[in-house]
Symmetry: C2
Subunit: 419 residues, 2 copies
Amino acid sequence: MAKANAFYAQSGGVTAVINATACGVIETARKNRDTIAKVYAGRNGILGALNEELIDTSKEGTKAIAGLRQTPSGAFGSCRYKLKSVEENAREYNRLIDVFKAHNIRYFFYNGGGDSQDTANKVAQLSASKGYEMQCIGVPKTVDNDLPFTDCCPGFGSVAKYVAISTREAALDVASMCETSTKIFVLEVMGRHAGWIAAAAGLAQEQKGDAPHIILLPEVPFQQAKFIRKVKESVKDCGYCVIVVSEGAQYKDGTFLADSGAGKDAFGHTQLGGVAPMIAELIKSKTGYKYHWAVADYLQRAARHIASATDVEQAYALGKAAVEFAVAGKTAVMPTIVRTSDKPYRWKIGEAKLSRVANVERKMPKNFISSDGFGITASARRYLAPLIAGEDYPSYRDGLPQYVRLKNELVKKRLPAKW
Amino acid sequence: MAKANAFYAQSGGVTAVINATACGVIETARKNRDTIAKVYAGRNGILGALNEELIDTSKEGTKAIAGLRQTPSGAFGSCRYKLKSVEENAREYNRLIDVFKAHNIRYFFYNGGGDSQDTANKVAQLSASKGYEMQCIGVPKTVDNDLPFTDCCPGFGSVAKYVAISTREAALDVASMCETSTKIFVLEVMGRHAGWIAAAAGLAQEQKGDAPHIILLPEVPFQQAKFIRKVKESVKDCGYCVIVVSEGAQYKDGTFLADSGAGKDAFGHTQLGGVAPMIAELIKSKTGYKYHWAVADYLQRAARHIASATDVEQAYALGKAAVEFAVAGKTAVMPTIVRTSDKPYRWKIGEAKLSRVANVERKMPKNFISSDGFGITASARRYLAPLIAGEDYPSYRDGLPQYVRLKNELVKKRLPAKW
């Protein structure tokens, strides 16, 4: 294929390492200048393509692009915007192709979760059907770790590490005060549909009796009486009880615990998050134990300061592989992580067809959850442990991590703003 | 003075570096074996002395004691227990002296905040009045940074660093998504009576427009209309608004925002913490902006993984100085941090009389708060910046920090259990 430009976009919730993937994409594209002229990044994801707001990454110096590897969040802006099916909204797809044509873009890299892989696949189909030659590559990303065909998803390992470390640290705090003060600590973590992140807290446990004593997963329907019994048992045996609860923890009927009453605020709105205070109050009302709770929210997925080195390395490698796939003439595929060994941990890059990835959600296997439903199994530990291995510290100045600021200069528009 | 044993106790809320102080105390005592025979640590603070539960730290190896320097929380247990005045509860003081006599303890190191310094002072007075020769040294510790006569308090610098980094990271997350998603992020941090911790979030701001856009301090009475105006202004100018709120944020009449209605849960209890969701909902109801909020709670004061190197160094140095003071025959004093230069930052160990330290609370100076009440001044930055400087990473195994586990063997009791 003749030399042409590439489009790269970040999609959905950002992570501590999605910019490491961007770094992999851009650095590898720069090494393939005979094939890829420039990388244009979408301002705020796919919206940047629709609005013809293309960031010219060639304006950024080598150091700035390298700095992406240690910078959390989405450096070009991301968005929550799902394209409908081609039938429902051909207009948007046609606009994408128009913008790509206008800027001689023949490489499309879409960095996101399941929805994004679906979009990338549709763009691939459409461009083919229109006879516009374009390589469409999906690049995996999601803290939810729910993409199929890849052993794990970039972003997840770093959240997992943050949650495991935070659990270990807060538990030590509670343990040292529990005789005369707080006995209960509840940490709320992300995971609306799957308990991968909450499960990772289980890695904090090194010996019997260590925290977390209870993990509440969306996969295991919440049973109040059983839960309270377990809390009392932990306090009796260990002196305290640390609970890690997934924001998606739910009753048997699918109602989220966070929506079940205690999570309503004075205005009558359902609170966003808020399952931690609900659980804490439930325990207080049933046992009288003094509690503390924390809601990590964005802190967990933005915590680049304690990112997993494995995660950073894989995020970069997937960006690099995406470009190499494109240069090799592939399309409608997504590079994946293939695990070849647990211990020592070994992995390589694999490949999945976008048509198969799109809209498939990977749940946590049943054999990862302990028989009482409150913990993780040895299999889960074997899977999770390597993903948090290694520390990849950013550089610091004056005690604060130095996260890169890009110029983000837009390319001159060539199309009418209205479409 | 003849060779005798020492008693060391941790008091009140623990920190990321109180064990670094313990490390300084024990390692320095071991270097002064001709004066200090053994260091006994109170199991759960001063309760360990009252209950004659004395941990024999001589049973711990060199490596374990060194490991304390990188381990958060209180390794011997802490407690929230304030001794009353000698008049009100002579029984407790007499018991302390009895236990100290029974174990030939003539050095008393009390590691805590204002109340603990007061207790150490009373024990000094009482032992003197009873003719029991004992050196009583207070050792400062508190994330609240509210002790007088010391430039700062061990524990604060690390919380400050955690809060500044978390604010910077979460803000990048919000910034990259704000065009189509969350525009408001509220982070709740500790500080019931003083805004030192919330103020430290201001260090995250490097350039105009950077987060945090608003800091809510207990020192500045909350004015709803003014606050909402500032939120709207930030969203207009920057696209988003990051707010860091002190748990002690309050109205003019002293009512905590957290207690003002929105913080009540379904059970009618006042929630512990919970000012973040209250602020978030207030903004939503007045502006319609989508929000996220986080409550760091224990995560912030236990976050040894990102402790300030300055803080760790000072925590250790104060423990070391405490022992050196005792060995030099001093009593009823507390080692302090004396700042001799802002830039480059230089400090040395000073000394304060416990009688002057006790029960004095240091507030944030007025000139640290910006004129609109929502930020910090250049003076505040000059004071705060050095305290978060440097990273003191713990060692890791399998992706998790290796925090030490002590044996904590108790000394054989010599007194009747009932007193």
